[in-house]
Symmetry: C2
Subunit: 217 residues, 2 copies
Amino acid sequence: MNIGVLGTGMVGSAIGTRLVQLGHQVRMGSRSADNPKAAAWVAATGGGASQGTFQDAAAEADMIVNCTQGAATLDVLGSIGEDTLGDKILIDISNPLDFSRGMPPSLFVSNTTSLAEQIQHTYPRARIVKALNTVNATIMVHPERLGEDHEVFVSGNDAGAKAAVSTLLTSFGWKRIVDLGDITTARGTEAYLLLWIRLWQTLGTADFNVRLVRASG
Amino acid sequence: MNIGVLGTGMVGSAIGTRLVQLGHQVRMGSRSADNPKAAAWVAATGGGASQGTFQDAAAEADMIVNCTQGAATLDVLGSIGEDTLGDKILIDISNPLDFSRGMPPSLFVSNTTSLAEQIQHTYPRARIVKALNTVNATIMVHPERLGEDHEVFVSGNDAGAKAAVSTLLTSFGWKRIVDLGDITTARGTEAYLLLWIRLWQTLGTADFNVRLVRASG
């Protein structure tokens, strides 16, 4: 597939690299077409990757992955525009983290809505699927690094989009994919970040996730 | 120990019964000294249990367990009063669920504060420990019912109180107790309810929990 990755940070690099390894054509988008971090990433991937503006990354993509910081997400999508986003599948990995009070962050959207819902509301035709925001960049693309199988969650209004995203997640190595329901269920996975941050601080590592355990027998 | 259980609902009954089974003297508190649900619970336990007002349940308790609904909690504690609460250990199991918009509930306190913090702020001498609010009443007191070991979280400002609560949790059968830190970490476990509710709807059972999985090797 042609996949547009929005963002040049740890998440964008990890997702982009994994997608290239899996044989996809990946264009990393940022604010400027000559972003040095994106250029370094393209150089390091050795083929299958290119860079451009956010608009460039989205324009020819079969699927878009939002790896920007939550606080920038709506602005970035605005620079792409409704016409380009169209009815494309957009995997939203961002979290609405608010660092204005220092560490640990709070959320700038929460409880009765979510960033994913705000995106869906702003771009009603786009097929938003919230996923992967509950683990760090390493675990997103290499879930096998943890000692046992563990869960990734998907939220979205479009069943076909969730199926396509689940196929992609399976190719990353995910074995336990839970479809939580419509896009409003992203309130749950975004709010979980408030626990994730405390677990990260307590465990002293970001390489962890949760595994659902149910009643036996 | 003498333990006061506040609340006559599913959580209060489950916790109270388990405590009686473990040999504790349990007084179940409610708004009135002759609450019929509490009377039925006392009759069913067959010794070791009594009932009274919230004030009665707290007065002679070595430890108090708040099993009231989150929306009622501060009012209930107000009926007990600061003098009676003193520096007692209070396990807060409540969740700040807001059903005013229907199902699924949202939270009436979240993100930059938590119900546990509000309790601690209102009663600065009391030793509040948030625990058990991330699982349903059955799993709280019978964690072995799930097929694998799984986590329970404790949050609180007083290390001695958290140690005492951890001992009690161990007696319930909990094997993986994670001390998240001070009472502000209850923001994480209370916010997790927004995910818990969606998991409950998706899984079709409330008998589940999360098990932390970390990097192997």
